[in-house]
């Protein structure tokens, strides 16, 4: 057993998968988490996990899964990673089955699969309506076993504050904060993995859990790590309105036949059941005959926005539509969707087996995250031994799961996140172990003062926070930030509003200085942490808003009507491949294309040339007085395996 160790921050699916795999490889792991890892946000995932196992004999394959993923992401995802992930997906599902996940079964006893958005295949394995919970528990159990065997040490109720960097800027440990005693100290680690999940709390109310503040990744950004594609925030079409949280109504409800509709008559005051079939507008089915209710999320969210805001057809004139499952029997619904229907019933008091649900779009997932690297092979797969895999731009600091940025491009397909989380955790582990075995200087041998300095720095910051005695309540200020983001950096983005938002964020930043730390005690006091997290959320909201402002195009979840290329209704994406082929061969025959198509393709091609790039935010410290902010640049995307083309789902 090596004396060296890796620190994993976060015990969601990604963190636990990495911990378990590294322990298998004999590496000691210190697992640090905000709360008991079994309570991580991953438990919220309902619908399922994708893998082209082709149980239904539909001819599905990992390559089709790969294609759907890249197309779903509007070609902004890194293709070798997606390809490697999709090719490992059937194995990952089998592995999770072996580890005890109670996946639903077919009559013959095989794993059952359902449909999800953005694909035409039954590719999503599921365990009732709590797939994320079940996957997380299986990994949690493996890690608990390693804990008993002494390879894994868990520190729950600890918060990651920042990386410890040695004089060469290499990460050699982490500064952590004991959330009970309040103690701040440094832990040595030869590598540190941030598996800290997404940042939904920047928007206040979202489908995310309370700890999803993005604070750990933002801290890495503030220490110099690059942040990728921040502006790509997924809005899920179907959430349940709520005061504290916008609880998700999983895409699986539509995967199992749920139909989305609004009354054809604006402001129809009748109850949904009083509205006869022909007076219902099944707008997704009508507008997208092929994918219907299972269009990808970016498309679904925009259509709901359009029908409610532009057509004024929302239920009761509000931003709400019906999601209807009442054509199924209770028995069917309880078996396939029990858990999520219970959530709806519990929190709204309405039985969705009897009444159509009322749903609306909500912030759900961040495609963007901390920038990470990888090493590809000739065949366009990933070299699993490479220490570069999942490494951030800070040597020795890694990221995995929703915290990273490279798998989902401009829009994530449903049920691909659980996959990417487990995949990254497993895939990166051999490379991290290789890195640790070859570090120039083991953490053990790094001079002690590197650690004491880092701790002292954070101890000072926290004691400053505790002394804050202004008149802003941090929780109230957070609500304001969230309102601003929800109003202006959501589905439809306009440059004037984004500019105003950036000014507003600066204002919040100034008001942050005037916070009152409403609890200054030493024991189990969450307030100073929250004040620090709020600072990070303000910094992260700048990354999101500035990235959105500068990206003058419409791609995936990032919709700017002003820059919509307006694909002609009768256009076929294959035409574009032909066009590109002719162009590359130097024999473009313009007259072979309809003029409107030709014009569109030229615009599409020019737009890709300019914008088919990763947004990179790098922190630039402010000059005296100002706090600094993101500098935005752009990087090439590996698109060598599937040629980018216009998306189409009808």
């Amino acid at each position: 057993m090596s004396k060296q160790r890796v620190i994993v921050i976060g015990g969601g699916l990604a963190g636990l998968a990495a911990t378990m795999k590294m322990a298998e490889l004999g590496m000691s792991v210190l697992l640090i988490s905000f709360q008991p890892v079994k309570r991580s946000h991953s438990v919220c995932a309902q619908g399922g996990i994708n893998g082209a196992v082709n149980i239904k004999g539909e001819g599905d394959s990992p390559d089709i899964h790969f294609y759907d993923t890249v197309k779903g992401g509007d070609f902004l995802a890194h293709q070798p990673l997606c390809k490697d992930m999709c090719h490992h997906a059937p194995y990952i599902i089998n592995l999770m089955d072996r580890l005890g996940v109670t996946f639903n079964r077919t009559a013959e006893g095989n794993l059952d699969f359902r449909r999800f958005g953005g694909t035409l295949y039954h590719r999503t394995a599921f365990a009732g309506a709590t797939t994320g919970q079940q996957l997380l528990y299986a990994l949690d159990e493996q890690v608990r076993h390693y804990e008993v065997q002494g390879l894994v040490e868990k520190m729950e109720w600890h918060e990651y504050l920042g990386a410890v960097l040695n004089n060469d800027g290499r990460c050699v440990g982490a500064v952590i904060h004991n959330l009970r005693s309040g103690e701040i100290r440094s832990e040595k680690g030869d590598a540190v993995i941030l598996a800290t999940g997404g940042p939904g709390m920047v928007y206040g109310r979202s489908t995310n859990s309370m700890v999803c503040t993005g604070t750990a990744t933002t801290s890495a950004y503030l220490q110099g790590a690059k942040y990728g594609n921040g502006e790509f925030i997924q809005i899920h079409p179907s959430a349940i309105p709520g005061r504290d949280k916008l609880r998700l109504m999983s895409e699986s409800a539509r995967g199992e036949g749920g139909r989305v509709w609004v009354p054809r008559k604006a402001g129809d005051a009748r109850t949904p059941k009083q509205i006869p079939e022909k007076e219902r507008f099944y707008f997704l089915e009508e507008r997208y005959p092929l994918f219907g209710n299972l269009v990808p999320r970016d498309v679904g969210a925009r259509e709901i926005y359009d029908i409610c805001v532009n057509d004024g057809l929302g239920v009761n004139g509000e931003m709400k539509v019906y999601l209807d499952l009442t054509h199924h029997t209770r028995e069917f619904l309880d078996k396939r969707l029990g858990g999520i229907l219970e959530i709806y019933e519990k929190f709204t008091g309405v039985d969705p087996r009897e009444e159509p649900m009322e749903i609306f779009p909500a912030v759900h997932y961040s495609m963007g995250g901390i920038w990470t690297d990888y090493t590809r092979t000739e065949e366009g797969l990933i070299d699993h031994q490479s220490p570069q895999n999942q490494m951030t731009s800070i040597t020795g600091l890694y990221a995995a799961g929703e915290a990273d940025y490279q798998y989902h491009g401009g829009n994530r397909l449903g049920a691909n996140s659980l996959l990417s989380c487990i995949y990254t955790g497993l895939m990166m582990s051999p490379g991290v172990v290789n890195y640790v075995n070859n570090v120039p200087e083991a953490a053990e041998d790094v001079p002690e003062n590197v650690y004491t300095e880092a701790s002292k720095n954070w101890q000072n910051k926290y004691s400053e926070i505790k002394k804050m005695s202004g008149n802003e309540n941090p929780y109230a200020l957070h609500r304001e930030l969230a309102e601003q983001m929800i109003s202006n950096v959501l589905i439809v983005r306009e440059n004037s509003k984004l500019e105003a938002t950036l000014d507003k964020i600066d204002e919040f930043e100034a008001r942050w200085q005037n916070i009152k730390c409403v609890d200054t005690t030493d024991w189990s006091n969450p307030v100073p942490s929250f004040v620090n997290q709020l600072w990070n959320m303000i910094q992260l909201s700048k990354i999101i808003a500035k990235g959105a402002l500068l990206r003058d195009e419409f791609r995936g979840s990032h919709y700017k009507p002003e820059f919509d290329l307006n694909q002609p209704g009768d256009f076929k994406p294959e035409t574009y491949l032909e066009f590109e082929e002719q162009k590359t061969a130097g024999q473009l025959n313009e007259s072979a294309f309809a003029p409107a198509h030709l014009d569109y393709m030229k615009r599409f091609s020019a737009n890709n040339k300019k914008w088919l790039k990763t947004t990179i935010a790098t922190y630039k410290a402010g000059t005296s007085g100002s706090a600094g902010g993101p500098e935005i640049s752009y990087e090439e995307v590996d698109e060598s395996l599937i040629a980018p083309r216009p998306r189409k789902y009808d």
Binding site: H41, C44, Y91, L99, T102, R105, L426, N473
Partner: protein
């Protein structure tokens, strides 16, 4: 509609300090649950006497009754605070920490004993490795239905809070851990170490501590059939006892 809601909250500043009650009167907002009200208190931590006090400390994460964090005793009944809708609760609303665990602060308690119990009953599959070993066993759908129900346990603590046999002084593993041992003893490969789980349940703090009061099953928010699990594990333990006698 009332204009305000009154909360009586049992608070405690640290593990060893004495508890005290504090009252908060907050504006009534439709569709609130207990957690959204605790958040309102955070945003304006003023008690009913008009004093600025520290915000109440509690645990939560998912806000949709699936992580198990936010368990507390609400109007005398143990349950999740995220799914406790204010409109359905009698007023004033009283909040207390669970009594079967050491209090950390206010409504937050230390449930590490429950996680330790999962170690005791070896609640895991012993895997040969995480490389590609092909698919797991085929299993009939009705096996999945039973196992799925058991595996929904979110270690929330309602069952043990309600159990007359579980207390701060003894070392009873509690209904949740017993039910988990049933789950793993029915798994096609985890059952390879079924006997080791039964050994744990035969020791002090094991299944013999259960007095069959059945409070646990009533309290479980996930409707896990705990008494069925206890009965099943009771049978497995007696079976093992008999086998031990014949071996001797």
């Amino acid at each position: 509609m009332p204009d305000t809601v009154t909360f009586k909250i049992k608070r405690q500043d640290s593990e060893s300090s004495k508890s005290y009650w504090e009252t908060f009167v907050i504006p009534y907002i439709p569709n609130s649950n207990v957690i959204s009200c605790l958040m309102d208190i955070q945003a304006n931590p003023e008690n009913s006497k008009g004093e600025q006090v520290t915000p109440v400390v509690w645990e939560c994460n998912c806000l949709e009754e699936v992580c198990g964090s936010c368990t507390m005793v609400i109007n005398g009944k143990v349950r999740q605070s995220c799914s406790a809708l204010v409109d359905q609760l009698e007023k004033p609303i009283t909040l207390e920490p669970m009594s079967k665990f050491p209090v950390v602060r206010d409504l937050a308690v230390d449930r590490s004993r429950m996680f330790a119990a999962l170690k005791k009953v070896k609640a895991w599959v012993t895997a040969d490795g995480y490389h590609d070993l092909g698919p797991g066993d085929r299993l009939p759908p009705n096996h999945q239905e039973v196992a799925y129900k058991l595996s929904e346990c979110m270690t929330c603590g309602c069952c043990v809070e309600a159990c007359p046999q579980y207390n701060l002084e003894n070392n009873f593993v509690g209904a949740a851990a017993i039910s988990q041992s049933r789950l793993f003893n029915m798994h096609p490969t985890a059952k390879n170490i079924a006997d080791e789980r039964l050994d744990t349940l035969m020791q002090e703090g094991g299944i013999a501590d259960c007095g069959n009061a059945q409070n646990c099953v009533e309290a479980c928010p996930k409707s896990i059939p705990l008494t069925e699990s206890i009965a099943e594990m009771g049978r497995q333990v007696s079976g093992k006892l008999w086998r031990n006698i014949f071996k001797a």
